[in-house]
Structures are given as structure tokens and as C-alpha cells.
Symmetry: C2
Subunit: 350 residues, 2 copies
């Protein structure tokens, strides 16, 4: 039996989205059980033999500062969900709440794995090959050094091997050119370190990749500084939204284009399905002594359900052990200067 | 009379693209003349009262190293075109050749303006408002400090005021959140510097922006480190290409979808026109003592023509004087530590 702890109150839509997703997930996964964390009175109506309500009186708001989540709301659904993982009552926690608060609470309660300075957030982005490219860090680890980038590469490899069953996923280092001499000093040193790690059998390093390789699907994993990753992700969201808006506008320009849209509806629906990021919802917080998955805040019940499935697969396939084993194996390369852990205030809120 | 020097041999397609664009440009701009730089025998067939052939025996290849362009090919069409600007025979040079070589030759021949450490490349990207957002740096100024980011902001403002007639264009600082406390140390210091510059009347600073603001069109100008800018640009190209590919595939799946594509052809054509980056072709190399514009290497004759128009507008609207005047005005803020000029080897090739 695999048990997940669900922050039922988080995200833009809260219960309206989380509960239908939980029910569908339970029906589809007979060997899974859920701990539904949130306001007891609101959750009491949810009856299922494999669901247990865990009461939590408070909710971390999408715009709450990290300090509020950490110091004030000690009985929030987000915190109590992570607490279930810490206490061994659940194998993974899932929340659609505020990213900064989730990362801070997860670090505070679960602590990092030996050899990891900074937890990372790994997002799957759809690629032209029909699969997903896992990009990390998309948290907010700004000013990373080469050691951090190696840690991200090792953890990302563990994630993809656990979720996609690919034991030696390829890793690309995000750079401004494919040549070894390209990039800033951190990137050049990271390239050397990743080549050493590949030589030691710690990972399958492809080499430098460029921004367009993320959506081409050149490698399974793309590793970058959290600042660069955040810009790449947000820029992509902006472009996708602009393109989608233009397409909608052109098809709703007048009665003729509206009829045309109806005529090609199956084609547009198939297209929409292929660019549907909801299928890949569920980012992993990696490097902690427990599994936490982050759903997009605006997820609908289908998307939130995908995050549940990813958390479930990660738990069943021992992602935690995989991360620890891979980090332990790469340890000889991870003995660089140990930088201060990032102050919690620096963690980005969503 | 405004005179442009055109590297007719550069780009993926060379003469096949540059010559038709030059002819159309001349026909549309009766007060412009062109210096057509390239192989004399190939250009001699181009007859126009306002076109003069300037012979250059060599061509910088798209994959030539910067050193080859600088030291070996001393009679390349790219170099000779820039030389025309240096000698005052042309007000601007345009090339679709290798970016790294173009930047290196332009720096070497023209030198930078007082107060500028590193020239920048400013790209216009289409935005949801139907205009373009000018992003810089998209050259390869990696490891920028706050002084460089201020220089980019001042130069970008001069460019947009010259090309779009907007005297006080808005500037956004690319970051991972809108709040002042977000970002790495360089970004935070750059934010302070940009606020001081705004207070001194040097520019119209909007504040921090995120990746999605580029395509939203939140500000006229977005300023960032060349590494981050390159990743954002390439990631966007990758996503646009993936989305375009999916749309094409869905419409060519079978005979029914192909007929459907014909039925909605006007709508798809209108959509394609709106996302057509060719309309915005022509990146400015800023901070040099002469105007140089870079066309995309794969530009067709329409796109190359747009780059000619941008160079012509910049020359007519005294972009060079505007940059120098704005930099001189911002001088009190530009007295930070003067870092070493970037070594030419570090400049990215396209």
C-alpha cells in the first residue's frame, strides 16, 4: 500500500479541484491510500475506504510570505501534509500551494539529504518528441556554483529513472552554445565536473545544450541555475500564452472564422492536447529526506490528478533511495567548498 | 541621403536573399543609397543609380571562429562593410553573417563609446500587444555586473526612442519575481542603480519583470545578462518551433485534416502573420562608435529587408548621437569599478 498526504486546501481552487482528483485517483489505484489534510468539517463528507481525513485548521495563502508559513501558521494543511511524510505515515506529500512556502516548510521539516546543499525543483516540460524534458532547478536557487549543478544533475537522473524507468537518462548542461569553451566561469567548471561524473559512472552526460534543446527533447534532463531556469520557464509560459491568444483571436474574429473553428475542431483539439502542459503537472522537490510534489497553483482536477500519479510513481519506485544512492556514489566529486545553505528568505514564492 | 553598407555575402543564403532585398529597399526609399559589399563579379550585374559596388574578395563563413574573421580574412565583405561606417562612407552597416564575428569586427574597427565597457545586442521580440519588446543583451556578455545592466538600459532606451519615436520608453529588469528583494546580488544592485538612474531622469524604469513579461509587452525594453537573454531567446525559438510543428502535423495528418487546413487557410495565414518574427528582424549592436545591424542568418529577402529598414531608421534618427547623449547624461552613475573588457574569444558565434 502506498500512502500519499494531500494538502487539500492549497492552490488557486482548493477543495473544488483537489477532492475530485483524489476520488478519481483512488478509484484508479486500488493499492493506494490517501491522507486528506485540511479543514475537518469540509472534508468529512468525503467517504472512501482508503481515505483518511487529517484535520488542519489553517491554510497557507498563495501570497503568504515564507515567514508566515514557517512561523505563524503552524497548523496549516501544507505543513501537516509534509509532517505526515516526516512521521512515516505517508510516502509522499502533494500540494498546489505557494511554492516558496512549500519549499521552506519541506526543508525545515524534512531536512536535506547528506551531500545536498540546496533542494531543487524539477519541472517536466513537454517536448517535440512527445515526451517531457525534466528541467531543474526551477526553484529559486540563484547564484549556483558548479557543485550545485552537479547535485541537480544527479538528483534529476534519479527522478527520471524512478518515473520513466530509464536507468541512464541523458543530462544536458544549459549553456549559450554547445562548445566546451562557451559560457561563464561557473558553467565551464560545471561542465568539467559533469564530465568527471560521467567518467565515474554517476550520470550520462550529453554535454552543453541550448535553450531550444529543452523543447526539442535533445536530453532527458536539462540542468541550470534556478535564476536561468525560472526565466526560461516564465518566458515559455508567456510565449505559449501569446500564441494561444493569437490563435483564439483569429478564430473568433467574425462569424466566418467561428464557423471555420467549428469545422476544424477535432484538429484544434488534437493540437491542444499535444501542447497540454497539464499532462505533465507535478514538479518534484528533490534533495529532501522525504518526497514532496508541487502541483501548479492553477491546476484543474485533471492536472492535479497527474501530480498525484507522479508522486505515487515516485514513492512506489523508491525515488528517495535512488536519490540517496546516487548522491552517495557521486560523493567523491561532491567535496567542493560547502557554501552556506541558502537563507529561507531568498526562496521564491510562487 | 542616408547610405547603408550591406554585407551582401553574409547569412545562410547570401546574394540570393540580400540582392532582392536591396533592390526593394532602394525602390521604397528614394533618399537612401547603398554600398553593396562583396564579390565584384557577382555584384556587377546589380544596376541601380543609388547603388555602388564595393569589392571584397573574402567571406566570413557562418561557422568561422572569431579569430579567423579578425586575423585571417582581412578583406571579408563583413569587415569591409563595417569599414565603410568607420570611414564615414556609410551611416550604418547590415550583415546576416556570423554574430560572433560581426560583434568582434565591429568592436575592433569601431571601438566602444565612452562610458561603455561592453557592446550589447538588442533584439526585438513580438509581443501580445502587437508591438515588439526590445530585449538586451542577447549577445554573449556573460557575467555582467550592475553597471553593465545600467548601460544596457540606457542604450536600449536610445534605440527604442530612435526607432519607435517613444522618447521615454519603459525599462524592465528581468528577474525571478517582481519584488525588489528577489534575485541574485547583481540583480538587486542593478535594481538600485536603475532606480537612481530613473530618479536622475536618465530612463523610465518600470521595475522588475519576469520572463512572461517579454511576450506580454509589459515594458518596451527588457534588460538582462547576455547568458540569461540567450537562454530566453533560444528557449522561445524552441517552443515556437515545437508548437508550429505540432500544428502542421495535426493539419497534415490525413486527407480530412488537409481539407480542413485549406478551409481555414485565411485564419491560419493571419495567425502566422501575427507570430511572424521576420517582421522584427534586425538586431542592433549598441555601444559602438558606429551603427551596425545584424539580420538573422536564415533571413529570407523580406526579413533581410526589414533589417535594412531598421538600420535606415536608426541612421536617420541619429541613434548614435542618442546613445552618446544618454550615456553622457548617465555618466555620474556609470563610475563604478571598470571591469576588464570582455576578451574577444568569449564572444559567442551564432
Amino acid at each position: 500500500m502506498t500512502t500519499l498526504a494531500i494538502d487539500c486546501m492549497g492552490g488557486d481552487h482548493g477543495l473544488r479541484v483537489t477532492l475530485p482528483a483524489c476520488r478519481r485517483f483512488l478509484d484508479a489505484h486500488p493499492d493506494a491510500s490517501l491522507l486528506l489534510v485540511g479543514a475537518g468539517e469540509a472534508l468529512s463528507g468525503f467517504q472512501h475506504p482508503r481515505a483518511t481525513v487529517v484535520h488542519a485548521a489553517e491554510v497557507v495563502a498563495m501570497d503568504d510570505a515564507v515567514e508566515v508559513a514557517l512561523r505563524k501558521k503552524k497548523n496549516s494543511s501544507m505543513r501537516v501534509a509534509i509532517q505526515q511524510v516526516k512521521e512515516g505515515k505517508a510516502q509522499a506529500a502533494v500540494s498546489a500551494g505557494n511554492t516558496g512556502a512549500l519549499m521552506a516548510l519541506a526543508r525545515y521539516l524534512l531536512k536535506t539529504v547528506d551531500g545536498i546543499d540546496r533542494p531543487a525543483i524539477a519541472y517536466p516540460l513537454p517536448n517535440a518528441k512527445g515526451g517531457a524534458t525534466t528541467v531543474l532547478d526551477l526553484g529559486a536557487n540563484v547564484d549556483c556554483n558548479e557543485q550545485h549543478l552537479l547535485q541537480f544533475a544527479v538528483m534529476g537522473s534519479a527522478l527520471v529513472s524512478a518515473l520513466n524507468g530509464k536507468e541512464q537518462p541523458t543530462v544536458g548542461l544549459l549553456n549559450i552554445g554547445e562548445e566546451i569553451i562557451k559560457g561563464n566561469e561557473v558553467i565551464k567548471r560545471a561542465g568539467e565536473l559533469l564530465r568527471s561524473a560521467a567518467a565515474a559512472g554517476d550520470l550520462n552526460f550529453h554535454g552543453n545544450v541550448e535553450g531550444n534543446d529543452i523543447f526539442k527533447g535533445t536530453t532527458d534532463i536539462v540542468v541550470c541555475d534556478g535564476f536561468v531556469g525560472n526565466v526560461a520557464l516564465k518566458t515559455s509560459e508567456g510565449l505559449a500564452s501569446m500564441i494561444g491568444g493569437f490563435l483564439r483571436e483569429e478564430f473568433s474574429r467574425n462569424i466566418f472564422t467561428k464557423v471555420a473553428a467549428l469545422a476544424v475542431y477535432p484538429v484544434l483539439a488534437a493540437f491542444k492536447n499535444r501542447v497540454d502542459y497539464r499532462r505533465y503537472n507535478g514538479a518534484a522537490l528533490l534533495g529532501l529526506r522525504g518526497l514532496v510534489f508541487k502541483s501548479h497553483g492553477s491546476a484543474d482536477d485533471f492536472a492535479f490528478g497527474q501530480a498525484l500519479v507522479r508522486a505515487y510513481d515516485a514513492a512506489r519506485n523508491n525515488l528517495l533511495d535512488r536519490v540517496q544512492a546516487r548522491i552517495a556514489h557521486a560523493k567523491p566529486l561532491l567535496v567542493g567548498p560547502s557554501p552556506d545553505a541558502q537563507p529561507l528568505e531568498a526562496i521564491a514564492s510562487e
